[in-house]
């Protein structure tokens, strides 16, 4: 009986000490880990969109809760003014969800660029969306209330050859981003203003 009790006590104490230590460590590293994930997973896409920004858009970000979901918005400062904002939208491609980062100019209400963050598309076909700048550049300059479609669906976007599904996915993601932008435009603009070069 005594041995039983001892076993229970030892295990309990050991587990709780371990749990306590790890919770403390988790709390101290959490912010840094979030930053690292953003930097390495979303960072490259954000930097492509915000090329030439005077600040670090990955660091200068704010979050808003929209429809119960917390989203990150990345702010880009150009010519001394915070005027670009980028955020991610998701849509299905050929191989599951794709994450597409869409950047907007809040002064002109135009798309400044799109870039793919995560995808699971077929290598050599849909996956070329990573590098196909001709395709992605078609979105730049479109108005922020646009509903882009590939030509096959009666829109104006040239799909990537052989990768209609992926191209459609990107269009859907961009539309989701523009919808969200329209929905919370004023909130975004207020927040963006608080960042200065």
């Amino acid at each position: 009986m005594r041995e039983m009790v001892k076993m229970v006590i030892v295990l309990t104490v050991l587990s709780s000490l371990s749990g306590g230590l790890l919770t403390a460590l988790k709390n101290t590293t959490e912010e840094r880990i979030d930053n690292q994930v953003l930097k390495f997973v979303k960072g490259p896409a954000i930097e492509t969109i915000m090329e030439g920004a005077q600040n670090d858009p990955v660091a200068d970000r704010f979050s808003l809760t929209v429809d119960g979901m917390e989203r990150n918005f990345f702010v880009g400062v150009f010519d001394g003014n915070p005027q670009a904002v980028a955020f991610e939208a998701k849509a299905s491609g050929f191989g599951g969800d794709m994450g597409v980062m869409v950047g907007f100019n809040v002064n002109t209400d135009k798309i400044i660029g799109v870039s793919v963050t995560t995808h699971n598309e077929t290598p050599g076909i849909g996956a070329t969306v990573e590098t196909n700048t001709d395709f992605k550049n078609q979105f730049a300059g479109l108005p922020a209330d646009t509903d882009p479609k590939v030509k096959k669906d009666g829109g104006g976007i040239n799909a990537m050859s052989g990768a209609t599904v992926t191209s459609r996915g990107v269009c859907t993601a961009v539309r989701k981003a523009t919808d969200l932008y329209q929905q919370i435009k004023s909130q975004i603009k207020d927040q963006v203003k608080t960042f200065t070069g």
Binding site: K6, V10, L11, L14, L22, T29, R32, Q36
Partner: protein, 197 residues
Amino acid sequence: MAKTIGQEFVKGLWEEIPPFRLVLGLCPTLAVTKSVENGIGMGLATTFVLVCANILVSILSGIIPSKIRIACFIIIIATFVTVVELVMQAYTYQLFMELGIFIPLIVVNCIVLGRSEAFASKNGVIPSLADGLGIGIGFTLSLTAISAVRESLGSGTLLGYSIFGPSFEPFSFMVEAPGAFICLGLLLCIMNIIGRK
């Protein structure tokens, strides 16, 4: 009979060097040694866990009831592995992504549990520290050796730097799984030839 601290340390570098002499922990050995950076990273992570787990196990060996010693060892090891995981995520995110699942899997690495059970639970703190450090550095050296052979032949680089010049055609078989087995076997063979003299 009792070995000195120095001997406890040195035995991990040749006499009982894992995974060549102490044929344990083969799974991470074979899986992560595609590049020297990964090999060293994995080795250091394992070393940290080994040393900390050895120290704590030898301190607590008096109060851990023998019936639940394995469970206690696993809690201790898992705690340190999680520490490594969080720290790597926060500071070396790219390496963490490369090593992926093999970091959490250090928990079930036979070397770590083996040293706790076979050595640390029966010896004092200082010998356990020396043992953990020796075995850990030995493991790191082994991984570095295997990954140096594999990376140089398989990708023509060493720590990311090209070593054979642009005309070298990478022998990509070496960075595949079978190449890992063959490389391990050949190195073991060389060690046996040297060791026999």
